[in-house]
Subunit: 215 residues, 4 copies
């Protein structure tokens, strides 16, 4: 399944029944997660240089737009009142996320992304998952979506959390690996391993685009 861990792990996972391929449905959507400047620009504390990830997302968003495949975009945004002590539990642990303040540059979408405001829906979220406390699952269901391509940042945080929720919400999950990024390589790899074993298929962008062509 991978060479991240040892052969014993692979044997254990095979026996436990992990890692089968998902069903690729006839009706995909692209979900672009948290590619705001606070994550894609290394000048922000929680950011790193995600230029290659952004490029892969540009390619996938253009592919989706040209095939009329729905695109949903999420970003973490807090009002100042939500960042006060004790108001948003996650911010006690994730102190760096307190900087994702409404109206600041940190929460502006990466300007390189070809967002189509007439069709794309932009959702605000307050936690790691793109689904938790948002209407994303409802919007996907309304469009008849059966399969989600999850892209963006970070692999070990919001992508992982969204993959778990997506499959729990009844959607097949595909993660095009060049289109997801992280500020640290170790957690990036470890979470791709977990996703591939348990929640969705980790694929290439090329494979993703071929799939979109057939949908």
């Amino acid at each position: 399944m991978s060479n991240l861990y040892d052969q014993q792990t692979d044997a254990t996972y095979e026996r436990a029944g992990w890692g089968a391929a998902v069903t690729r449905g006839a009706s995909p959507a692209l979900v672009v997660i948290d590619l705001t400047r606070g994550f894609t620009d290394k000048s922000f504390p929680a950011g790193s240089d995600l230029t290659e990830v952004v490029q892969a997302n540009i390619e996938l968003m253009n592919a989706a737009h040209s095939r009329d495949i729905p695109v949903f975009i999420t970003r973490i945004v807090y009002q100042e009142s939500e960042t006060l002590p004790g108001v948003t539990t996650w911010l006690t642990k994730a102190t760096g996320m307190r900087g994702m303040l409404e109206g600041t540059e940190a929460v502006a979408m990466d300007p390189r992304l070809p967002i189509d405001p007439e069709r794309d829906v932009v959702l605000e979220k307050k936690g790691a998952s793109a689904f938790h406390g948002t209407p994303l699952a409802a919007l996907l269901r309304a469009r008849g979506v059966d399969t989600v391509l999850l892209t963006g940042a970070t692999t070990s945080g919001c992508i992982r959390a969204s993959a778990v929720d997506a499959v729990q919400d009844g959607f097949s999950v595909l993660v095009p690996q060049e289109a997801v990024g992280d500020r640290a390589e170790g957690p990036h790899e470890a979470n791709l391993f977990d996703i591939q074993a348990k929640y969705g298929d980790v694929i290439t962008v090329e494979d993703a685009i071929q799939y979109l062509d057939q949908s």
Copy 2:
């Protein structure tokens, strides 16, 4: 924060604002996740020998019971109709979970656990998270719980997924490390790292019991 990854990762995480301590509230609950025989007994395909984890859970459950701290217990259980192709999306990827069938030994609670049927609530779940598609968050709120101790199996699957949901649902998360187990060491360590950095505090059982004493 850990020596799982390199110093560069630690520096990156410190800059990004990960790893702060959670607030330990005055009203904890113990959530024991998926300690059914299909997970704790190595004779089952998805199981492994979790004897030490079960011992730590016995200690924590006894501590909770003696202090009148609420205990919630989850287990994965499917009706046969839920395991038919296309009915439960996760089972396409997680083929091993199809064996968690109602009425079989695989879904029986580990008989060593001191469950108190008069007080403990046992919840059935269909996915990785103890919160998703269950009334757990509502039950915790009804009891006034502010802090959850998450224990059980597996660290890289249901514990991780539950930790993410717990903090998103507004609960402080503590994970007593001897009380969570996994069938493979690599993913166990990688997910403890992620939990400690982003979602909850990874602590010792001794620390957990001292905390329960003060609640």
Copy 3:
């Protein structure tokens, strides 16, 4: 829209843009809500004689089964530990629901219903909505369902709550009126009015079966 209220109400609702017809999708499911003996048998405190409602549900379930349309069935069931004071918030208000105890006759499915255990999925719930704290939305999405027919009891409680959640979760809602019942006529009528105005189409069983024929 109705003659339950006065002409002024109708004019106000028309101006406000309520009461348009839903989109009937190509992929329906039947969701049969709380037709347990505690609701359908008047010898139980919260029950009433729902014989005609049960008959309409038999007709709809047979129609669904013969067309291979998915059937989901819900029932309210509590463990005794969930009925202790302060554990399930709803039971403080809804004291009558405390009698819906696991293992008792009150929570047994009405024996007249043609449940097919090989295909139908039976879900337990703890509140009014068939969706809240259950995996129902995920199961519907996994099957590609776009439209739900909601039937069962009671119109003013669990049907209304489920209709609101269904449309919020992205499903078109149809309520075949002979197939929903209530212990009291006033709230039954008032809630059919609200559902028709705001959440789904109140239709006849005959219309529902014609729709299933075309799906």
Copy 4:
């Protein structure tokens, strides 16, 4: 319980165990629902003159602010892309809600409300319930809230839906009746009846303020 329906209904409801009083907890919050100009100003199609309701909300918000009780405010807001056919299921039925567009006067908060931007949290929602697809339950839990006072508009839509979700999410529900309004009297009364019977206590504003004084 009420004289909206006949004595038979009252007897039936008493036998069924409806209408008990909720537990008033030590930690309340005020949730002000959808008092935007599109609802409170009769010049908007879905609006009506809610001057008295707004006055009652001003009184309650001031009472909450002066006692440091958390205030959460919701409003329905859609991006244009969310109002396209088939994107938000509810808007097919609720055509009037399509006018609740981001950046328009219809979604501006009623200017008479004493919102405190430094403390109050304003949440956007896409459906009837203040809880569905929003982080409200998590925010309430983080603040230790056990009891919600639900106010605003409309009684038969968003208040009713929010009352059902609040109790399902584990919160005691109080509805101060002068502080909730509707564009039509019949549905207003019918839904107060249902809420009082099944989900929360319908009380006076005076009683609500006395309760806040004791918290």
